[in-house]
Symmetry: C2
Subunit: 281 residues, 2 copies
């Protein structure tokens, strides 16, 4: 493998480049970003070797790491622009819309639908970290639709990054991620909003916040440019998750209202089993 | 200062002892715990020097670090049992009920209502850490009701632990903590429940969970024995916070339902200012 082109050199695209430069130092990285500032930061930080608006013809892999709503168009354009030996992988957080958008594209077999389960609340090339993807899960959807030879290059790269592969269909992916990722972001944003609004009565309320609050509200620092599109792309599943979450909160509130000590205790004790599940993973 | 007695030698009581043993090695620690297992663990771990059901007459400070619902009775008993030179400090997460319970006690001036803003999702003496209280906020309520001489001992100890003192009245304390602590715990428990229930459809849902989910759901590992009492003690404020949180979640869901990209984007961008507030504190 000689050349990789990255479109969108932010937290994910940049971390991918940093880690792979270390694991496979022979690879040349070119890249593009819609933001000139991000592009010049990415060059200055050495995340890419060269800025190019399009991938060179001898590019082995093009990585698309832009916000979810931009991916269908960029994926289609990139499939049209690149040649038969170039594999295109996206890193988008939702998969059903994108897989549907290219299902009839004559070059569909040169695309691999991917999703690295990794991130922080920060964004942009300066947030990139060499360790971000290390030993994380990488989900591949519709793997049978990707050319077997080109897919080999993806496995080579993902193995070099120590990523753990999981395979699932796009609808299953979106349904699961709504619960374990998208819902967390909403719960965190709305907790942040609730306490920010409380500041209007109590100016010093944040002074009393401990590490527990910081942990639950951390994701409220996330980028709206990345997250607003995800909310709409995965609308159906997220609304289902949110409705269940709101119902659970309302029932818990009613138990408090009814002074139901035993009910609250039992409920929290049951949920405590998440300790074992999380500590295993 | 020569002797401190700790009632409830778990995460908080144990961490207090560990840190103070280092800062003031001349102090002898005695202690009691309702759980025999906790008591023997505390002795084995060297958190206390000696197990005693009651404080010795020459004890300078008694620390009460038991669940919120047990505190009114333990505080009253301890005020009755101890002599005029002993200060009693509690570490409870709610303050209004407790301050009210002892407002007419003839020995009220030997009590200091405290709350260290520190914790983890773990509990018991084995969870104790020397660094837990270091540079954390310690809230004192109704400080004017505590004898000035006895209060001096509290300041000496809290300064030795590098704690930052804040003073407020019990009602203000409970109103603020409902938002920055108690609500976080509920949001986390209910997020945990929502995803655990989802496991019934999708057995492997947790396999897809990343660090963001782990962060928002961390507090769902917390002890029900500690948290069920807090929910009821601070009922009014928590229900107010929960209602606001549920309203915010419902409005955000409606924006998703209406495909209101701009509304979602603006809302998340406004909440992003929590970055500056949290990074300052």
């Amino acid at each position: 493998m000689k050349k990789i082109h990255i479109v969108g050199i932010g937290l994910l695209g940049g971390s991918f480049a940093l880690a792979l430069k270390k694991a496979m130092p022979e690879i040349v990285f070119t890249g593009h970003d819609a933001s000139e500032k991000n592009l010049s930061d990415a060059l200055a930080l050495g995340l890419i070797n060269e800025a190019r608006t399009e991938a060179d013809p001898d590019t082995d892999i093009v990585i698309l790491a832009t916000p979810a709503d931009t991916l269908p168009k960029i994926l289609e354009t990139t499939l049209n622009q690149t040649g038969e030996n170039t594999l295109i992988i996206d890193f988008g957080s939702t998969k059903a819309t994108l897989c549907k958008a290219v299902e009839n594209h004559p070059q569909r077999s040169r695309y691999l639908a991917g999703h690295p389960i990794a991130g922080t609340e920060y964004s942009g090339p300066k947030a990139a970290m060499e360790s971000l993807l290390d030993r994380k899960v990488f989900i591949i959807c519709e793997m049978e639709k990707t050319d077997v030879h080109l897919k080999g290059m993806a496995y080579e790269v993902l193995e070099a990054l120590n990523m753990k592969l999981r395979f699932m269909d796009p609808e299953e992916h979106d349904a699961q991620l709504a619960f374990v990722s998208h819902l967390s972001h909403i719960s965190s944003f709305m907790l942040g909003k609730t306490v920010l609004d409380k500041m209007e009565d109590d100016k010093n309320v944040f002074d009393m916040a401990g590490s527990g609050f910081a942990s639950t509200v951390r994701l409220a620092k996330s980028s709206p440019a990345m997250w607003a599109p995800i909310m709409l792309e995965n609308k159906k599943n997220i609304i289902e998750g949110l409705n269940r979450y709101i119902t659970n909160l309302s029932k818990f509130r009613d138990k408090i209202q009814d002074d139901d000590f035993e009910g609250l205790f039992q409920e929290m004790q049951k949920i405590n089993k998440i300790r074992d599940i999380l500590d295993l993973s």
